[in-house]
Symmetry: D2
Subunit: 158 residues, 4 copies
């Protein structure tokens, strides 16, 4: 992924940033980027975030290789603020805003170079899952420490 | 789209139902259906719903041909309940649960034949947009009447 | 996948047939099904074919679980005959027309219910690969026998 | 799209080059980039090429706005040379190698930064189509001139 230098101020709080060109084929019959493409971008920023904290197993796309424990996407949502069309380049940010007992809340933001404005934002719930026990697991202290270090602040359990 | 006969009871309240085979390529490197595919299914059920009320312009995918007014997807979210793998066949339902001044809330549900259970549900906010005036527009009485007829009940403004 | 009954005569020679609804979101900004979607359909028919000969490992999507040997897609092409738009239902067929030393040629055909005609056809080259030795491998006699049984004819090495 | 500086020698003959990051979600259940993604990359390079010769209507993605004449993708194929996995960055090139009476042949090449090698190549046939007359049309002299200027050589009719 491209290193994002000089990110726009709207993305100042997002420690994981990726930059992606809009492809012509991302557009649907309405002539703008289809609504599902934003979730592909969110996903890419989520992976980038996990890599930033050293938990982004290439194969698994995440935490899976650590202690047979991995993240599961439990829920995700997107608010569409502006239509994006080809050509454009988006900067997509991810940050973690909450660490609960066994889940975390990640915020996403899509910034459009053409609009010079936020085009979408959203939120996902990632659950730490113990694949051996087949049930959610308490967020390991290691994860919390790595995340708080990257975020630069304490994240109180909520 | 396939006509869905004998839908499962979980989908009893959904007037628009579509049936889709899971394709092998819908799966990602985790070996299950990728999270963005569910939004493609939601979209297909949204279009099917609009067609059921006679507002599903083929080209526009929606209400757009009526009075230069069309729906815009303002927000959408999904809760993932069970992992879906190939092979499977999903039944996807859409219903409208709220009609506000210029927006409507649509509920979505994905039912897995393999699991014989709900695999995901979600909600979207659809705004009626006046493209000429470039602003949201009050939900036309015609839409409300068509939707309430299909839903079989009054939908109070919320 | 749906069982295809009464396939059109154009597909008479294709032992593996699948039926798929066109989704609205398969369309691009030209308002017709995007060119890459046909390759997704080809892929689904390829998997269906492998399942018909008992070599369609669900996880691997193919022959991979047999003897640490698996198919690799070496090349694929598509000829676009007619534009497909939503709504439509396509029937996609796959057949094997040649078995070489370490590769096979598979033919694909996409038939449009709306057009009542062939919308696309194509061909792919599948190589049998020995993952342990990291090189192509002679097509196992077992594969040849299973394929010839399904095709109902001898396939001379070419 | 990113400007590609210092392209690898394998892409020296390709006047239109784009650079794209591989997204994690481009991978399928085999854990490598799915075969259809290459055709999305080919498409993006095709659009980039048309833009280079001044015929890349943003909305239409091509020549369509000129004289009610537009390109239709008649055929496309891909040879897979090396598996691509996330993370990687690909450089994708497009060039026109033949101009016939009403069709052109475009070559595509995908170069992987991780492999430092060509990962795929392919070819497409683009037909100039007269939408009013509903039939193929002779390649306009303007197109030929623009293409030959970009390619830096004469392209004999074939």
């Amino acid at each position: 992924m491209m290193v994002v230098t000089n990110p726009p101020p709207e993305l100042a709080l997002f420690p994981a940033l990726i930059q992606l060109p809009v492809q012509w084929g991302d557009q649907d019959a309405f002539g703008h980027v289809n609504n599902i493409v934003y979730f592909r971008w969110f996903e890419s920023s989520r992976i980038a975030y996990l890599e930033r904290i050293g938990l982004g197993g290439k194969q698994a796309g995440g935490l899976a290789s650590v202690e047979n424990v991995g993240p599961i996407l439990a829920a995700i949502g997107c608010n569409y603020r502006r239509q994006i069309k080809y050509p454009d380049t988006v900067i997509v940010g991810a940050r973690i805003t909450r660490i609960g007992r066994s889940s975390m809340t990640m915020s996403h933001m899509v910034w459009s170079s053409t609009h010079q404005a936020v085009a979408a934002d959203g939120e996902s719930t990632v659950v730490v899952f113990d694949y051996a026990a087949n049930q959610p697991k308490r967020v390991p202290d290691l994860y919390r420490a790595l995340i708080e270090k990257l975020e630069g602040r304490k994240l109180e359990p909520a």
